[in-house]
Symmetry: C2
Subunit: 418 residues, 2 copies
Amino acid sequence: MNNFPNQPEQLKNSLNEVMDSPEQLADRIADIFECPITIEDSNHHVVSYSKHTEKIDEARIGTIMNRKVPDKVINGLWKKGVMPRLIDSDDPIIIPEMKEIGLGNRVAVSIRKKNEILGFIWAHTGDKKLSEEKLQLLKEAALLVKKFFLKRRQRKRKSEEGNKDFFWQLLTGDITDNNEIQQQAKQFNMVLEGKMAIVVIQFPANVTEQMEKHAYYLSETRVNVQVVSRLFDENKFIMLVRFIKEDHPSKLVTDFIHQFIEKISDQLNLQGILGSSGIVVEAPHKIKDSYKQAEKVLEMKAKFPEELQYTYLYDELGVYQFIDELYKIRKQQNNKNKYIEKLQTYDTKHRTSLLPTLRAYLQSDCNVYDAAKQLFIHPNTMNYRLKRIREVAELNLKDPNQKTAIYLDLIVENMTET
Amino acid sequence: MNNFPNQPEQLKNSLNEVMDSPEQLADRIADIFECPITIEDSNHHVVSYSKHTEKIDEARIGTIMNRKVPDKVINGLWKKGVMPRLIDSDDPIIIPEMKEIGLGNRVAVSIRKKNEILGFIWAHTGDKKLSEEKLQLLKEAALLVKKFFLKRRQRKRKSEEGNKDFFWQLLTGDITDNNEIQQQAKQFNMVLEGKMAIVVIQFPANVTEQMEKHAYYLSETRVNVQVVSRLFDENKFIMLVRFIKEDHPSKLVTDFIHQFIEKISDQLNLQGILGSSGIVVEAPHKIKDSYKQAEKVLEMKAKFPEELQYTYLYDELGVYQFIDELYKIRKQQNNKNKYIEKLQTYDTKHRTSLLPTLRAYLQSDCNVYDAAKQLFIHPNTMNYRLKRIREVAELNLKDPNQKTAIYLDLIVENMTET
DNA sequence: ACATGATTTGTGTAAATACACAAATCATGT
DNA sequence: ACATGATTTGTGTATTTACACAAATCATGT
């Protein structure tokens, strides 16, 4: 094992041999580096692990037993900033012991094609320290293992562009025939069954390679939802997600978007990343609707950032599903809301703020105390103003019909100003 | 005065003489009938009264002093059913003493041209009873006095058709030039200044002559508002009203419509008479808008009879100002409200009534007790159902955005069924 | 500067509302 | 028929909300 100059050759030969039987892949690498080796895919599922039993740690046991790295370990790696370094770098990363998650000393390197993470090689170095040359060798090993991953994903890879085209066709509704859709889906190894939705993540600026890398990674590693297909369009990352559990798709997709944004904001140290989803559909030809709706949500979130700060689903847009159209109607009708006008006139004449008060009141679900808090005034002041509103506008604040009209007209009115 | 066969001749001669000086009109008739005579126009304003001072009663004093019949007397006459008989008949009506309104024995006859009431002749008979021949003579007197009224209204009469045309032009917006409008208005003796609105009264069936008669009469005798112009179109009576007091035009027009409907329903013993008004405008060229709006109100009242039972003004239509358009939008969007759908599904599956409960709750301004009363259930039941609604629909009942959307979608949904 | 009326805030009380719990009723499937 | 869970109603209590009144502050015009 000291014949150092010979090692790369040896490695190549070994790997070429085992190209089709991944089981021995880790063993061969482990032989060269003299420590246990684990190879994972981008999803942190175990692809291959060496038989070495020395220097074994808790994390390794858990990983091999479940054929997947435990979530606790992955989270720990993220928290310590290991994962970002691993994803961003082509070089091996030395990871010191992390007792709290049962991880011994390790060296790891990512396996990637362009910006896409294919997987990772983990060397369980234990007390031993790898030399600079060995680290270099590990990097070369990664390049060679990459071939294995590429071959493994042969079907997927050979049609990656076609897959993208197909996804676009689904998004735009260019294919409507269900049989054709299912045929193509089979060809690209996509499952278009059960409950699905389009999720769009919008980045505030132009997307860098690093951002793409992280986005792709995150789209691979979710659990409750499965990302069937994904692509970047300008500064938007569009995903087709499928729901494994059929229970509460709204909650699942909200959580997914939440986590996605949280993690990627954290990892890239970026603010202002928005997420949205169209409604959950069951038929593939309705994916286009879900996409349109997801885009609509983003459009409305841009127009009403505060109001829709915590809204991600089209279903939850409420009146903002049709506020644009309503705006057109009201403008066309050319008839200002009588009550709003009266209050506006009164406000400008007497330098009061009855209209903003009414707005806060309506936006607080007609709760006097919440509305008062929002405006930093005493609840009695609020009540007094409401009394004045009733008098000045001759408005019955118990009439849901009028209140609804005012609520909408106040939103529409604000749209005029922008 | 016993030369009875000669009296009609005498009457004619007398009247021809005084045709242009109304002051002596009543005197001449009084001479023939040997009792005090009062002549009123359709508005119950005094046109002419005889000098006779015998058999004078309280009502006559009040009438002459104010140059108008006191409201108390008019109301009394309506209550006793005298006015309808007078309006409907060409023959003189004998009216017994009505002490409660200070009215002595009288005989009265209406003066009319076709269906339009021009005025009335009142004979204060006192203890005397008029013979059948004298009654016949009074009828002839009415015919002759009619000539006087027609001459009196010469300008108005000669252009009655033209007036109608002009009104239609205002209603349809055929004239837009303000100068032209004011010129024509002057020609037809119409005042088109200050605050105005179009009021439309809709009759349930085809309009008979009797109904027209009453409608014209009522349009003459209102106090706080002035009916500038009016016409019948199919089963609709369209009025242009002007506001004398500028204070609270909404209240004035509501009261006007209320009273109009109440009185005419009462007089004609008719149900289902609807009234509406467009917004109050200041510029004559906006009358067309007010007309359109008044028609829109009637249209919506037909579609939502219960909801808009007490709504007459366009301003007060609330969401019904745009519910038609919203219906189109929502149909086009082809996306059912998620919350409504969930509740509907649950209701059919479990034979519950969560959706009707939510509807009642929203329509009762989110007041649990009112909604419960409306549904004849215990308030606790209401609360329980609301809890289930929150759970089943995953709906936050404190979110005004969602609630507003549901409120509107519930209305829109009901429109589908019809 | 003063008077006036509108507005804001503090204090207290009455009424309305929410909520927990228990009992009764109902629907449904085994 | 029975068990089960959902639903309805009754009862009582704690909390919230509405409202009246008073005092203080502010704006405005003379």
